[in-house]
């Protein structure tokens, strides 16, 4: 039984990371209808900037965490300003390919640094012994990571529900022309959406880096695996991203915990999200919380 609960715990840990990583994609999609395929690279960039600041420049990890969030904030904002803004109104294939191209450029830039090929890990600042409750153990890094994730997600939801900027972002996602007519600058909102996405990506990168160690391949693969998550949650719902993230984390952990090695299977955790994705797309394409805008052909 404790094996079951152990899987539940690790599923929630993985799932909350997915939720945070998916949050950035949802933010961008919600306001500007762009699926950002470069999100994984921004996550990796955030994690590496934090590592660089903490280890090479010896800044306390809390401050470098904040600093890297600010840096990716401006990085993502300038990406939107330079590349994506010219493509407003272009066909969706162009927009998708531009984000893929941007991801490739960021790949190249990261490969130029030592971070591209080697493994690093953050200096430990938390106790080593994992916490355990009746056979179920969770390490301090995971616990703190989950707590920070939920604080951040709470902060983002508050930002969207209450703050003026958040409300204007929701307005733009609802109706661009109507929001223009009440004096919202739509391009500025797009920029801000990308910027907040960059910020959340950096946070996700730091938390993933702390839990799994810094490896470029692992980090940027998160940019692809969040797509099943956001589809399950409904592409433009923050609550959906959180719920779907945790569901996906649980599914993945249960698959690798119970299926692997039992029927001659292995690596099911990696493929399960995509199988779920196909099933959702076939039966409920707007996801759990998304708006119904899919039309039948």
């Amino acid at each position: 039984m404790s094996y079951f609960f152990q899987i539940v715990v690790s599923g929630i840990v993985v799932g909350s990371i997915y939720a945070l990583a998916a949050l950035g994609l949802v933010l961008v999609y919600k306001s500007s209808r762009v699926a950002n395929f470069a999100h994984g690279q921004i996550i990796a960039a955030g994690a590496f900037i934090t590592y660089f600041l903490t280890v090479t420049l010896a800044i306390p990890i809390f401050f470098s965490f904040l600093a890297s969030m600010i840096i990716t904030f401006f990085l993502a904002m300038s990406v939107e300003r330079i590349f994506l803004r010219r493509l407003i109104g272009e066909p969706i294939i162009s927009v998708i390919m531009v984000t893929i191209g941007l991801g490739s450029i960021l790949d190249g830039l990261i490969y130029l640094t030592p971070f591209g090929s080697e493994n690093f890990s953050f200096p430990t600042f938390l106790p080593h012994e994992p916490l355990s409750f009746g056979g179920v153990s969770i390490s301090w890094t995971q616990l703190v990571g989950v707590i920070i994730t939920f604080i951040l997600i709470g902060g983002f939801s508050w930002f969207f529900k209450k703050s003026t900027v958040g409300i204007s972002m929701r307005a733009v996602s609802d109706d661009q022309f109507a929001s223009m007519s009440v004096g919202i600058s739509v391009p500025k909102v797009f920029g801000l959406a990308w910027a907040t996405a960059g910020l959340s990506a950096a946070a996700a990168g730091c938390i993933i880096g702390n839990i799994t160690g810094l490896n470029f391949d692992t980090l940027h693969s998160f940019g692809i695996v969040v797509f099943p998550v956001i589809i399950l949650g409904g592409l433009d719902s923050i609550l959906g991203a959180v719920v779907a993230g945790i569901i996906m984390g649980l599914i993945q952990q249960f698959a690798s915990g119970y299926l692997d090695g039992n029927f001659g299977l292995f690596g099911t955790g990696d493929v399960m999200p995509y199988i779920i994705l196909l099933i959702i797309l076939l039966f409920k394409p707007h996801g759990l919380f998304g708006i119904h805008e899919i039309e039948r052909v």
């Binding site: 493509l87 191209g101 190249g108 490969y111 797309l281 052909v297």
Partner: protein, 364 residues
């Protein structure tokens, strides 16, 4: 039709039959013939080393695959981020024959044209299955559905012992009328074989677009409801577009298996899928000649970048990993620049040149 059969300043069709002609002017025909002669003749006069011949074979295989992608993404407007998986299905069709019958079985070595067609058909079958979500999904959702097909394909190949878990499965050397194609002539021989396939499929592609079965793709891309009103079944057309793309990809995959004399998992990853999309976009989505320009441009760029980073790499500190960095960086830059400044691709340059020469030396 204008009296001058060599130069035409515009279209002067009076019947639909005239519009369906392959070559509009005699100039077109002779330029095309000239190109064909050059393509067939140059390896005889300028023999290249096997290494470069492999690059050229590889480019031609990419041309076949990109033609398929252009059909589904360019003409039918359905974004496919899983094209390398279709190519992989073609290659693994050949590989599974090799696994069950041995890689030098007579079917593999003597009846290889049959194998290539069979791989194309298997690819088409899978294409139709993967195209099924297109009945319900559009745009981004469809793109992500094909993405998940790609990931599931990768997992299946890595998982099944029948496919050697993604390790290379060897494919035997083929026979021609003159006997076994040896190591020295291998790439040379396949250059001609692939060239013939490219020309056949290219003509097929071009003629398809002049019939009902090609035009329905364009109609569905531009407005599927209007197409529905015109009596075209949009759902069926979308599945059919995926099947066509699967056929081209399957043929490309079989050729890949034969040229490399082996099938390994790493040639059919998500990265390759993105590469095919990039080639289609750089060449020009929704054009036939773009399917030639794109792969040529991207493969040539890759080759040059390898040379360049090797040349510069000596002068850099050893920590900087220029060789691995250069490829994705230039690849991404090329995609982004093309989409921002020339979203109609190289085919557009070709079109501009052609319309310029039509009126030369006069201008508007």
């Amino acid at each position: 039709m204008s009296a001058n059969t060599w130069l035409a300043t515009g279209n002067f069709y009076t019947t639909y039959k005239q519009e369906q002609k392959t070559f509009f002017t005699s100039l077109d025909r002779s330029v095309f013939t000239f190109f064909l002669i050059i393509l067939f003749a140059w390896p005889l006069f300028f023999p290249l080393s096997n290494k470069f011949m492999l690059v050229i074979d590889n480019t031609l295989i990419a041309v076949v695959a990109v033609m398929g992608l252009n059909l589904v993404t360019g003409f039918a407007g359905l974004i496919s981020i899983g094209h390398a998986a279709f190519v992989g299905i073609g290659a693994y069709t050949v590989a599974s024959f090799c696994r069950t019958m041995g890689d030098t079985h007579i079917i593999i070595t003597h009846f290889w044209p049959l194998m290539i067609i069979l791989s194309g058909l298997v690819g088409a079958g899978f294409g139709a299955i993967v195209g099924l979500p297109a009945l319900r999904l559009k745009h981004l959702y469809l793109a992500i559905a094909t993405l998940s097909f790609q990931m599931i394909f990768q997992w299946v190949i890595n998982f099944m012992t029948f496919f050697n878990q993604g390790q290379t499965i060897s494919v035997g050397r083929v026979f021609w009328f003159t006997g076994k194609v040896g190591r020295k002539d291998h790439y040379f021989f396949w250059y001609y074989a692939i060239l013939v396939v490219v020309i056949l499929l290219g003509f097929g592609f071009r003629n398809l677009l002049k019939t009902r079965y090609g035009r329905c793709l364009i109609a569905v891309r531009d407005n599927d409801r209007a197409a529905d009103a015109m009596g075209i079944n949009p759902g069926l057309t979308k599945v059919y577009a995926f099947a066509l793309a699967g056929f081209f990809a399957g043929v490309a995959g079989a050729l890949h298996a034969y040229v490399y004399r082996g099938v390994g998992f790493e040639s059919f990853t998500l990265h390759e899928s993105i590469g095919y999309l990039a080639m289609a976009i750089v060449g020009g989505l929704g054009t036939l000649n773009g399917s030639f320009w794109g792969p040529v441009f991207i493969k040539f760029l890759d080759l040059q970048m390898e040379h360049l980073s090797e040349a510069i790499g000596q002068y850099l500190p050893s920590g900087m990993n220029l060789t691995t960095a250069m490829k994705p960086f230039t690849f991404g830059l090329v995609i982004v620049l093309f989409l921002m400044y020339e979203s109609r691709g190289i085919a557009n340059w070709w079109r501009i040149t052609k319309s310029y020469t039509k009126l030369w030396p006069f201008r508007y």
